[in-house]
Symmetry: none
Subunit: 222 residues, 2 copies
Amino acid sequence: MQTILLVDDEQDVLDFLTYTIQKEGYRVFTARNGKEAVDKTIELSPKLVLMDLMMPIMDGIEACIAIRNNTSISQPIISLLTSRSEDYSQIAGFDAGADDYIAKPIRPRLLLSKINALLRRPISGEAQPEQDGRLHIDRSSYLVRLDNERIELPKKEFELLELLASRPGKVFTRDQIMSIVWGNEAIVGERTIDVHIRKLREKLGNDYIRTVKGVGYTYNTI
Amino acid sequence: MQTILLVDDEQDVLDFLTYTIQKEGYRVFTARNGKEAVDKTIELSPKLVLMDLMMPIMDGIEACIAIRNNTSISQPIISLLTSRSEDYSQIAGFDAGADDYIAKPIRPRLLLSKINALLRRPISGEAQPEQDGRLHIDRSSYLVRLDNERIELPKKEFELLELLASRPGKVFTRDQIMSIVWGNEAIVGERTIDVHIRKLREKLGNDYIRTVKGVGYTYNTI
DNA sequence: GCTTAAGTTAACTCAATGTTAAGTCGAACT
DNA sequence: AGTTCGACTTAACATTGAGTTAACTTAAGC
């Protein structure tokens, strides 16, 4: 079960959101201000922190910075809750390292679908894909750089490359690739993966992805 | 520790706000009118001046102008305190060089959050978003300059551009754009974002905003 | 050599996005 | 009050290109 830390200074909001999120099947902890949020993040290692922007003692931005600066803790996904009126602080949030925004007033349905989406995406902290010099993969800009030349990749190609590069040397089976990049719902044909691999090789050169026949594909460790 | 100059002609207000702000960990000085405010600004070089609009001897607007015109002193962030009714004077305040408004009656928590936000924000005019020369976005004057030619943008377009430019290269999803620029109250149609993107491209040229199909939009880092 | 996995190519499909023009609404002006 | 204006939204339609498929070729392993 995934853990979520909920941070707001208003008890009503906490109660309501806790109820809403628990019903969806998550484990919820709460904090009342930024200081508590930082402490509990360290203590509980939540996967996701939902935090109000305006709080006494330490506001959302400060807490965000504090969490991001503490490299010894496992980095949660941080999403800030904000009122539409306080618009100038919104941009500061991204600078502070927040991953997403959720605008108040909060619609429960929307909130849950956002939470699900945020938690479904690749683990932000772990396994930074690839730094070895030649190739650089940046998820936030959806951009790949090869020898400092930028290469724009379409979504699926990017995600496929990102997956392979997240563990250089590890061989991913077609099944694994299919369920991670395509999801279990999509039933696509046998050759679809091949074609995407081909497109990647076309753009990056043949050296980066190695076929392990009968098993799958791997990102080449030189 | 950051220094704040508090200016109001009512002793009650001064006492209450001084207490509130000191508790948050700022150094607070006070002044009783605009004249004093200018003098103490020169003397103390505060980071932030919180000033009532209506005062005897010299009002907030005049003091604001006096401070802005004195180029030999380090420019503080100026935020004016105003009653909701006198909102017509807000325009004059911005013209006079104020950075922000805080409406009376003052809610302590809101005030503190605003102060925190203001003091984190670079002094007005000093571009946070975008440095590359061609495009200059100035939030305080709500104005965009492209190759030194001024471009006036309506609110939504400005906010959209500001968001994208706040993190050049980062791809913002439609969801994120929607909740930040529009907020969750407004449920607008599918094509609304596209149209605003189009208007921006029309005015700025196509080079600045890149579409990442299936993901979102990004401000281009050439 | 036979079998099967993977590579290749080009055509196809459809959802995502682009575009245009017209409609709505509120603010400013007369 | 009526009028004008422009921001914002909507709706209808056009376009694009990512993703997929199909048909065929090549390579690997026994």
